[in-house]
């Protein structure tokens, strides 16, 4: 049994909207072991992004505990959460969120708060096949290259946990496969990866898949639950 890096207990997130209260996460409990690759599957709008942002300390839950490496990040101050995020978590987003006015090299450097050395960044980018693109701006790259740059930015600090929110949502199957291969390699070096996705490819690479529907984790999804996810049913 692997030691748990991440322990989520009774996590609930409610939003107030004009039409009333919306429960985005409903009493979610989940444990993720150190060095584990977990895929969270669910349809669009089921709360996957909210879950990732809450785990990453970008959103405060309404109720519940998010414990990582023994620390309940919900109880941390805003400043402590910021520091925690910087050292412990690497984010990867569907839309890449690269800084448009920086070169690829600088985009990765931003991830290190400009503390990283050029040689280690170049080495990582070379590993990801971006050695010819160091001076290029994001708008000069293909979508696959952009996502690999975003991956480099997340991986450069070697964080214990990678949170990837639909990392292949904008990629063709070939590039999507490449992204999962990189994440899988990271898992193999001891990193923990949590991916939310509505596609089935993540499940093929993950050690374990859990299902999210209407803000709730499903212990054992029925075929109907799976088939309601149009992307999965494809």
């Amino acid at each position: 049994m692997t030691e748990n890096l991440l322990q989520i207990d009774h996590l609930t997130k409610r939003f107030q909207t004009r039409d009333g209260e919306v429960t985005a996460l409903d009493n979610i409990s989940l444990a993720v072991g150190r060095g584990e690759f977990v895929s969270i599957q669910g349809a669009s709008g089921c709360g996957k992004s909210t879950l990732m942002l809450t785990i990453g300390g970008m959103l405060q839950p309404t109720l519940g505990v998010v414990r990582m490496g023994g620390r309940d990040i919900v109880q941390l101050s805003s400043r402590e959460r910021t520091t925690f995020r910087r050292k412990q978590i690497g984010f990867v987003f569907q839309m890449f969120h690269l800084v448009p006015y920086l070169s690829i090299l600088d985009n990765v450097l931003v991830g290190t708060h400009f503390q990283g050395t050029r040689s280690e960044i170049v080495e990582l980018l070379t590993t990801l096949g971006l050695q010819e693109r160091l001076r290029h701006k994001p708008n000069q790259l293909s979508t696959g290259e952009r996502q690999r740059t975003a991956l480099a930015r997340a991986l450069i600090n070697n964080p214990p946990l990678i949170l990837a929110d639909e990392p292949t949502g904008n990629l063709d199957p070939e590039n999507a496969c490449e992204v999962f291969r990189i994440l899988s390699q990271y898992r193999d070096t001891g990193g923990t990866v949590l991916v939310v996705s509505h596609g089935e490819m993540a499940a093929q690479w993950a050690d374990r898949t859990v299902w999210l529907k209407s803000g709730k984790l499903l212990d054992s999804p029925t075929l109907e639950d799976i088939s309601t996810n149009s992307d999965i049913s494809q």
Binding site: G45, S78, V110, E166
Partner: protein, 382 residues
């Protein structure tokens, strides 16, 4: 901090239009302020020059003097301590300058009526030394009016006796056709000695710059200043000749006091809107930086450092533009002191200080908004 400045510099180069428009707004504000400063300085200088050329316009006399008698005859029969002169001359924040004390009295010299006038050396408040308007007279010398010199039948270099005191005639003035022809000018100390009135004076003449604009009545302003230092004195101001000039200056300053704030407010709003647009454009970037562990302080610094860059560039450009316009048009507007209109380098320092501050204040609300916006909202991809 260094890397935030680097990010700012890269962003400025990337969003050039925003940078250009922000810098333009602050540049115009700085240029207007600099131009106004040149104009006010030139206007003050021009007014002072005109006032100086018109002669003494301020008379400070003993408060006990009957003002009606003085206005009707020009005669002064009261005195005040000479110390009043030194007290007034030691003040630093007064509007007057070129202080000269006199002691005068009708006397009889060899059976002829004359007016003895003792004149002190010209004094200036600290740090406001100017070329003297009235040369002082050395002790033992006198300057004679034409009429009295003729009556006494003396020429330059002759000796005369005034109340048993011997003096050398240093100058015989040309005929003036007025009371000056009967005047005997000497040093203040000699007049005090001859008249037996040590340390007494009965008038201080001065030039007021008429440069106060907060008050419609320059005399009231001077009176307040003088009374605060010398309660035993009264002020008579020859306002007629200076009034038009003062009013012109007041009008210009009031005009400036309306136009300049309007320019500043419009520029500030302009910068604020551009900064708000910039924050909106960078929502994702802010969210990303927060996800990477950048603190609120870093985000705030990022936007403030942009304002700093804009301010420094605008300070330099605004100073250049304001100076160029002022030195080009100024000499035509202020012909009397045209040569005195030169580049004021001290304004560059002020511009480089004030412009970043102005840009920072204008960008403050958008920067605070950038810090407070929910990064999770910007990063939601679903």
């Amino acid at each position: 901090m260094k890397h935030l400045l680097y990010l700012t510099a890269r962003e400025l180069l990337h969003r050039r239009v925003n940078f250009f428009l922000s810098t333009l707004a602050v540049t115009l504000a700085v240029a207007a302020s600099v131009g106004m400063s040149y104009a006010m300085t030139a206007m003050g200088r021009e007014t002072r020059r005109v006032m100086r050329d018109l002669g003494f316009n301020l008379k400070i006399i003993p408060a006990t003097q009957n003002i009606d008698t003085y206005l009707l005859t020009g005669q002064l029969d009261q005195t005040m301590p000479e110390d009043v002169l030194h007290r007034l001359a030691s003040q630093t924040s007064m509007t007057y300058n070129h202080l000269v004390a006199t002691l005068r009295s009708h006397i009889e010299v060899a059976g002829y009526q004359a007016m003895l006038v003792g004149v002190s050396e010209e004094l200036f408040p600290p740090g406001r030394k100017k070329p003297i308007m009235q040369p002082s007279i050395e002790r033992g010398l006198v300057h004679l009016g034409d009429q009295i010199a003729s009556r006494l039948n003396v020429q330059k270099g002759d000796n005369i006796l005034i109340r048993k005191h011997s003096f050398v005639v240093a100058r015989r003035a040309p005929k003036m056709g007025n009371a000056d022809d009967l005047r005997i000018l000497c040093s203040l100390a000699d007049a005090q000695m001859v008249l037996g009135m040590p340390d007494r004076i009965n008038e201080i003449q001065a030039i007021d710059c008429m440069c106060q604009t907060s008050d419609h009545d320059p005399r009231a302003q001077v009176l307040r200043e003088v009374k605060a230092v010398a309660p035993e004195a009264e002020v008579v101001m020859l306002t007629a000749m200076a009034d038009a000039r003062a009013k012109q200056r007041q009008l210009t300053e009031r005009y400036a006091s309306i136009v300049l704030p309007v320019v500043l407010v419009i520029s500030s709003a302009w910068v604020c809107i551009l900064a708000a647009l910039n924050v909106h454009q960078r929502r994702e970037e802010i969210g990303l930086l927060r996800s990477l562990g950048y603190t609120s302080k870093s985000i705030f610094t990022l936007f403030m450092s942009k304002a700093l860059f804009v301010g420094l560039a605008a300070g330099l450009l605004g100073f250049g533009l304001g100076t160029l316009l002022s030195t080009s048009w100024g000499p035509r507007i202020f012909p009397i002191t045209a040569k005195a209109i030169r580049v004021e380098w001290s304004l560059l320092g002020w511009s480089l200080l004030a412009a970043p501050l102005f840009a920072a204040i204008s960008s403050l609300v958008p920067a605070v908004f950038a810090v407070q916006q929910d990064p999770a909202m910007a990063l939601r991809d679903d």
